[in-house]
């Protein structure tokens, strides 16, 4: 992480990364997902972090809010980097059942050697579509931070829409969880 920071720093100095303000109000992410937020968020715009849009409240090394909008059949769920070239790719398929999509997220979040434990999986109307909500624990391998997370998702017209938020289980997850839940409730998939 320390070295990663160096790289990120270098990217900043090279002017290729930035953080944008996300104002309170309505926003459209991707083509079909719109949401409403109360209070600001920070949108991290680093090269090569697609397909998710990454937001944060406390900084990239603390909390991550991942928004996936309109992931198509056959699309990889994480950026392809040189460093992770030997790890398995997790690809979304339109025909996946809800529980398979949650398993796919487990794979995505353990790709870096972190551990993952599913705490809860329940039905949830996400963006007005039939979807699910799940909660998890994750121990981040790179810096040993113990995270808690919550995820939401649904598939509509063959495309995946999902949100994941994780933050340290001490202080930070409890601090921002309610806002994340409120954002998830506000989601509309057009």
């Amino acid at each position: 992480m320390k070295k990663l920071l160096f790289i990120v720093l270098a990217l900043v100095l090279a002017g290729c990364a930035s953080v944008k303000k996300v104002e309170s109000g309505n926003h459209v992410v991707g083509e079909r997902l719109s949401l409403n937020i109360q209070g600001m968020w920070n949108h991290l715009d680093f090269p090569g972090i697609k397909p998710a849009e990454v937001w944060t409240m406390e900084g990239v090394t603390v909390d991550e809010f991942l928004i996936y909008s309109g992931i198509r059949d056959g699309q990889a769920m994480h950026p392809e980097t040189a460093a992770s070239g030997q790890a398995k790719s997790f690809v979304f398929r339109s025909a996946m059942q809800s529980e398979e999509i949650v398993s796919m997220f487990e794979g995505v979040l353990t790709r870096d050697g972190s551990s993952f434990k599913l705490l809860k999986l329940e039905p949830y109307a996400f963006g007005g579509k039939k979807g699910y909500r799940f909660e998890y624990e994750r121990n981040r391998k790179v810096d040993n931070v113990q995270l808690r997370g919550v995820g939401f998702g649904a598939v509509d017209r063959g495309e995946l829409f999902a949100m994941l938020y994780h933050a340290p289980r001490l202080t930070f997850f409890p601090r921002h969880k309610d806002r994340v839940e409120a954002i998830a409730k506000s989601v509309v998939i057009q």
């Binding site: 070295k3 460093a83 030997q86 551990s115 391998k141």
Partner: protein, 386 residues
Amino acid sequence: MNRRRLLFAGAAGCLGAFACRGWGQESLNYAAPQRFAKPDIASDEGGLWAMMDREEKNLRRSPLVLRDAKLKAYVQDVACRLGGAHCPDIRVHLVRTPLFNASMAPNGMMQVWTGLLLRMENEAQLAAVLGHEIGHYLQRHSVDRLRDMKAKSAFGQFLGLFGVVGAVGQLAVLASAFAYGRDHEREADRIGAVLMHQAGYDIAESARVWSNLLDETKARDGKGPELFNPLFATHPAPPERRETLSQYAEAMPGGDPGRETYAENTERFLDDWLQDEVKRGQYAESLVLLSRLIAAGKAPALVQFHRGEVYRLRGEGGDLDLALTDYRSAASAANPPAPAFRGIGLIARQRGQKAEALESFSRYLELAPEAPDSAFIKTYMSELNS
């Protein structure tokens, strides 16, 4: 004690066969060096040692360490039997990571990853890997390697030898392959075999470790196994390595595979480790591994359920049928894993077989009322009912 007797019997057999083989006397008369003193801190070895001490402190505090005193004591005991006089310097740490890896740093920090423990069929196989790593330690190969890697500007890769992830390039280190040189591997194999034999283990199991791993990594398309596993260096080439180890086994026959003790000590964790393995998403490799464990008779119902999970998640061609077969045989076992019924239910639901789906789901919730996905499964049930 039984083990002692085996040891002596083995030693006698070894000498006889060994003479016939005509190897140099030195090759099987390995005498371990004295215990190592802490190196001068101004030396390169001292620097390495101190860095590893700090890494060990981090590891000790990591949430990824498996903190089970009993299992740790068991693995420590195996390492101690192999390490003999060096036992007090070897400190075992179990790390919950689903990859085949073990390493030993020059300061005595030994990391054993749970992916390795899952793959071992008996105590002798575990001893084969630990003995090999102790062989590197006793011959201080890492110090040679440090000097070599320094010359090649590959210090980050060097640290990968010890599974040190946080210290340097993190993911790059986790994903890449690291190896000692060919001669070091040969020497560690030989020393490992002698240590195994001295401790009363059957050396034939060490050849099996490498051929099992070879089968698994071959299942991955396109690339050779050496790219994927730190312990699986191409030097010496796997067939050569297997061959040599088999020859050692012939020269030093006898010994105990230690199958029951191994099962007794590890079975409590199998379910967790299998779940971690399935999450890797390396379905082809997992299938080879799980099929092998089933054939070896290792907790068949549980492993069969997890193989069913792999088939279901891969979901290609006839995978759902194969998954169903596995789920069904797991479910018919004396003490069936509850999620096997969930698996049957999920597939039946997908296929529109209402009655079977409902029956399997309710059996699942009966056996595991507190399951994390119980609310979700209940919704599936009410949809099926309407």
